[in-house]
């Protein structure tokens, strides 16, 4: 399926042209939406199912062939090498290890996420919407290994007497109801939902293997010891996710960020760490007016 709105499913076009509206808003959110001068025009969705690549000789999932190269890493991607302090011990001894940013995984995730998002926007554009509020996105692994589904859902709206957004691309936000109203009152206009994913693969070297697997090995410490390679990989994956999101902000603000980290432990201290960061990109359209200091209250109910 392409990103073009010409290829919206026929049923979706019929539904959006029917004249009635559908929405995912609760009653209070619907009321708040009308108070803001927003008219719901339809529940819009976007899907995309992606399959990751493969492990094996020549795959981008493999580490570099030696401690001095980083395999298929593009310039600027995160990579670090750790070298064994023992010298040659045996053929099984892990004489070097690497932390590698898996840019191909990040790109595949961005493609899937971006395609589902664009398809939701296509439906919104078809309905003549100015924005999409109350966006819910979900990324789930399907039964087949290495297959992931991206799903977007939201309520397309029109701003009464409002101009269309620049380029005809509707703005989007995870917010709806009172939270959206408060943001607008505070001078923050939603621009888009933004998300990024960073993935770092840890290829453990001997010391990391000993520490993570609990084997004494050669010169393994007998007191608590920071596992530097893994700690750095964890920090790097979070920093990369923030960097990727920051690249989408163009000086705007990210509100309500949510960070999710998933790690998959493999054998011998190896692991894959994925970090996803989502939030609302907001633009200030007026100077901030400080709210009066809140009055503390105690509820009797």
């Amino acid at each position: 399926m392409s990103d073009s709105s010409d290829e919206l499913p026929e049923a979706a076009v019929r539904r959006l042209d029917s004249g009635g509206f559908s929405s995912g808003l609760t009653v209070p959110d619907f009321a708040a939406c009308l108070d803001l001068g927003l008219q719901p025009v339809g529940l819009v969705q976007g899907f995309c199912v992606m399959r990751w690549g493969w492990y094996g000789a020549g795959s981008g999932y493999m580490r570099g062939m030696n401690p001095y190269s980083y395999g298929s890493q593009p310039t600027g991607a995160y990579a670090e090498t750790y070298r064994c302090p023992h010298g040659y011990v045996s053929a099984e001894h892990r004489m070097w290890g690497q932390n590698l940013e898996q840019t191909w995984v990040e790109e595949a995730w961005s493609d899937g996420y971006g395609s589902a998002y664009t398809r939701m926007l296509d439906e919104a554009k078809e309905a003549g919407a100015h924005g999409v509020i109350g966006v819910v996105d979900r990324v789930t692994n399907l039964a087949d290994t290495g297959t992931t589904e991206f799903h977007f859902l939201g309520t397309a709206i029109k701003v009464e007497d409002g101009p269309p957004p620049a380029g005809g691309v509707p703005w989007t936000t995870y917010l709806a109801g009172q939270r959206l109203t408060k943001s607008i009152e505070a001078g923050f206009m939603p621009v888009a939902v933004v998300a990024s994913m960073a993935s770092v693969r840890v290829w453990a070297y001997c010391m990391t293997e000993y520490l993570m697997e609990g084997s004494r090995g050669w010169g393994g410490p007998t007191s608590p010891y920071e596992v530097e390679q893994v700690s750095k990989a964890h920090m790097a994956v979070r920093q990369l996710a923030r960097k990727h999101v920051r690249e989408q902000l163009s000086g705007d603000t990210l509100h309500g960020a949510r960070v999710e980290v998933v790690k998959r432990e493999l054998a011998q201290g190896d692991e894959v760490i994925d970090c996803t960061l989502r939030g609302n990109r907001m633009r200030r359209f007026k100077d901030f007016d400080v709210v009066p200091p809140p009055r503390p209250t105690v509820r009797l109910s």
Partner: protein, 279 residues
């Protein structure tokens, strides 16, 4: 939103929509990122503070081999590993906060995972600073209080100074074979476990309080505890405690005199589009 004048939300919405009607010029300015809700951001502004950046700290510290096997007394290596992991993550968090010129970190989410061979600690929160700049502190504070609690605490004349942490792991001593046989048909207290829990609890609480004093705090608020046998070694029990160390910065505690209210409305249903999926 000046004073208490009513805001015309519809007019503001139109202004907002107009601001997006023309394409923004590309900017290389560093945007603010935060995991605060809009309510928290507004409250923080009302208190004269603003969010700066999302910051995090992670440390993974190994637990020496064999420490979880049967033994007696405290498992000091595991406790040390835990404290080292917390300190490492906290130092990383402070480092990131200082890099973005924050004065402290609020709403810190604490995640601790105790595994057989390593202890992982992750801290993530939003760096904040006073809107008017102010003197940069020598060391930023770290607090797991929400922005709302931070505002309330500040209004009462107190400030958070750091995260106080304490952990202790200890062995539950073996019962003798005779005791085990005798107790098999009895309803009886397992004093070995009770005593182990007491030992772990007192040591962890003491360490937490000491860490609060070390960062210049007068006390700890919002203490959370986890306790129980380790999933991978049922004969060992662990107790961890953490909270925010606070210090009085005003001359005296400012009494917050709340208004008593009796709401007449029904419970507000918060927006929850997940319900569309039947979850």
């Amino acid at each position: 939103m000046s004073g208490t004048a009513a805001i015309d939300a519809r007019a503001e919405m139109l202004n907002g929509a107009r601001s997006l009607a023309t394409a923004a010029s590309p900017s290389k300015a560093r945007g603010v990122t935060s995991d605060l809700s809009i309510d928290e951001a507004l409250l923080l502004h009302a208190a004269g503070w603003e969010p700066v950046d999302l910051v995090c700290g992670v440390a993974v510290v190994s637990v020496p081999v064999g420490v979880w096997t049967w033994g007696q007394g405290q498992i000091s290596s595991a406790s040390e590993a835990h404290n080292a992991a917390v300190k490492g993550a906290s130092d990383q968090l402070k480092g990131e906060c200082m890099k973005v010129h924050g004065h402290g970190v609020v709403g810190v989410r604490v995640e601790v995972e105790v595994r057989t061979h390593h202890i992982d600690v992750e801290l993530i929160g939003t760096a904040v600073r006073p809107i008017d700049g102010g003197d940069h502190p020598a060391s930023p504070f770290v607090s797991d209080l929400s922005a709302r609690d931070f505002t309330l605490l500040k209004g009462a004349g107190w400030l958070p100074v750091g995260l106080a942490f304490g952990a202790c792991f200890t062995y539950a001593p073996r019962r003798s074979a005779g005791d085990a046989m005798k107790q098999k048909t009895q309803n009886i207290e397992l004093t070995n476990f009770t005593e182990a829990m007491y030992t772990a609890r007192e040591s962890a609480m003491e360490r937490m309080q000491r860490s609060a004093l070390d960062v210049g705090g007068q006390g700890v608020i919002g203490v959370k505890v986890t306790e129980g046998p380790m999933s991978f070694a049922r004969h060992a029990v662990g107790f961890t405690a953490w909270g925010t160390a606070v210090r009085l910065v005003a001359d005296a505690h400012q009494f917050v005199q709340p208004d008593v209210i009796l709401p007449l409305d029904d419970v507000v249903v918060a927006f929850d589009a997940q319900s569309l999926r039947g979850e």
